[in-house]
Symmetry: C2
Subunit: 313 residues, 2 copies
């Protein structure tokens, strides 16, 4: 297995990304290799400083970097030699099995759509987000922001993808799929959720438990939280601000610590023909390490084949 990492992506790259790669390496087995995309001349001194043998990694030297503020589509087209563009090229050619970056989120999404492309039958790939549960474990929320406006068919597919992810990556045998809504009753909602409810209900391959509400994000009601990208984005940023508030106010608590993105490292793009992981812009080495290990889990789970089977059949 080869996992590609963009070492130029993120606010603290390449230092944080290279240190994260070193940390991840200790947790990989012999047949699991890291391929680093970026400026090798910047990476080598960091490795030397850590007395780490560069031969443990494969390097793909790239000369361009897509900045955090750049327009995604333009950047992907105009910078073919960027770490993100080259990474996706190799992912498309099957030379790596997964690709991860804490760089420009939009460029990662566009890069995935242009290179490995959406899985046949998937109308809209989605960014998913990992939600810590109060009782332990994680739920997956999608869409987290890739699709601001969604149709009921899109939301229904998010339910299917989330359910497969929860089952095969988180080993939850029968994941509970909930529709984020403004009330529990079946008839409650806005036009989109009201139309989505019956579609999810009649989807045989998922265990749809009905509507959930804002207060259910952290409880045990759902393992898969379905919403459009507008709603998902607001929920996630609000939840993150809450975590930041507890930190600022000196409230120490092991549950709120699990809000820390470092613990899971990245958000998978679901619905494209390869495992792709997007990291937080402020990723620390710990976050990068966990993003790599999360990518490895995705490869091991054969989640892409499972998606392909579900949507092509």
């Amino acid at each position: 297995m080869k996992i590609g990492l963009d070492i130029m992506g993120g606010d603290y790259a390449p230092k944080a990304t290279v240190l994260g790669a070193i940390a991840a390496h200790q947790n990989l087995s012999e047949n699991q290799h890291l391929v680093l995309f970026g400026d090798k001349n910047e990476a080598i001194p960091i490795l030397k400083e850590q007395n780490f043998n560069p031969d443990h990694f494969e390097f793909v030297h790239t000369t361009e970097v897509i900045g955090m503020g750049e327009h995604p589509t333009k950047a992907i087209v105009q910078k073919p030699n960027s770490s993100i563009s080259v990474g996706f090229q190799m992912l498309k050619e099957g030379k790596i099995d997964a690709f991860a970056s804490a760089g420009n989120t939009g460029a990662m999404l566009v890069g995935a759509m242009f290179s490995v492309k959406a899985i046949q039958g998937v109308l809209r790939p989605a960014i998913s987000a990992i939600i810590p549960k109060e009782k332990g474990g994680f739920a997956i929320l999608l869409d987290a922001g890739a699709n601001a406006d969604c149709k009921p068919e899109h939301l229904t597919q998010f339910g299917i993808m989330g359910s497969l992810f929860s089952k095969y990556v988180y080993q939850i045998e029968i994941p509970k799929v909930g529709l984020m809504n403004l009330g529990e009753e079946a008839e409650k909602g806005n036009l989109i959720t009201q139309t989505t409810y019956p579609l999810l209900k009649e989807t045989a391959q998922i265990n749809f438990i009905g509507n959930i509400e804002g207060r259910d994000l952290f409880n045990d009601k759902a393992d898969v939280i379905v919403c459009d990208g507008f709603t998902g984005n607001i929920i996630l940023k609000l939840a993150e601000s809450f975590y930041v508030l507890t930190l600022k106010r000196g409230l120490k608590d092991e549950f709120f610590d699990r809000f820390n993105y470092e613990q899971y490292g990245g958000s998978p793009i679901l619905g494209v023909n390869a495992p792709v992981m997007i990291g937080h812009g402020i990723s620390s080495p710990e976050a990068i390490k966990n993003m790599i290990l999360h990518s490895k889990n995705m490869v091991e789970s054969k989640i892409i084949e499972r998606f392909q089977n579900a949507f092509n059949s």
Copy 2:
């Protein structure tokens, strides 16, 4: 001034409502009177128990009660002698200056629309919610759930109503109006927020500061937070669940204490021809007291006239 209170509304009525009325009475001046709507035979023993002279209140004895789970429109029509129906009738006739209840939210909304009606020019009255700010003071969020789907013109009016409320009830000279969105940039958003942004921007009577994000709910960016009722409902329930989590986990903090609905007591319905306040179903006497005092502030601020002037001109 006469403030009407439904003493039959809420999970702990009439005990909690009558005790709340007693507490509020101590904070009212001589020309401010409370009118209690409900079963007088239930109220009197509670007053006696507290050694409180019933003559301090005016009673309007009613024989029916709208339950928390009843269908709002049906209940209002089928129970003309309920505390909520009679309260709205007197509000319509100008016999009371404001009406407050911790009962069935939908029935309060329907009752307001049927009796005092929407202000001429207001397309959609909204339920507003009070948001504690980290730096002190409060913001107002609307819509909090009355209108799941909103058009850009509705959201623009929410901005105007929220701004007037913030100015005249909270004495914020130039309230900052923010549009809840998935990114700060003007072009970001879903179809509705993208269309609403220019409308808010060209609305001369408000100080539109642009888009805000989920993470800005508690900071100082906006005094008025504009969103549709679907988004508002999810935000509020999520925020409330955070507060409950801090309580459950024994985290004590004075900022998070301000999340407690008891401190402000109720959510005003904005855009109807009289001050109407909806309380939380689980209202305690303290919450009822504050809902009454909040109603008094609304009357004193002449907010209804200001709305009428803004939308009729």
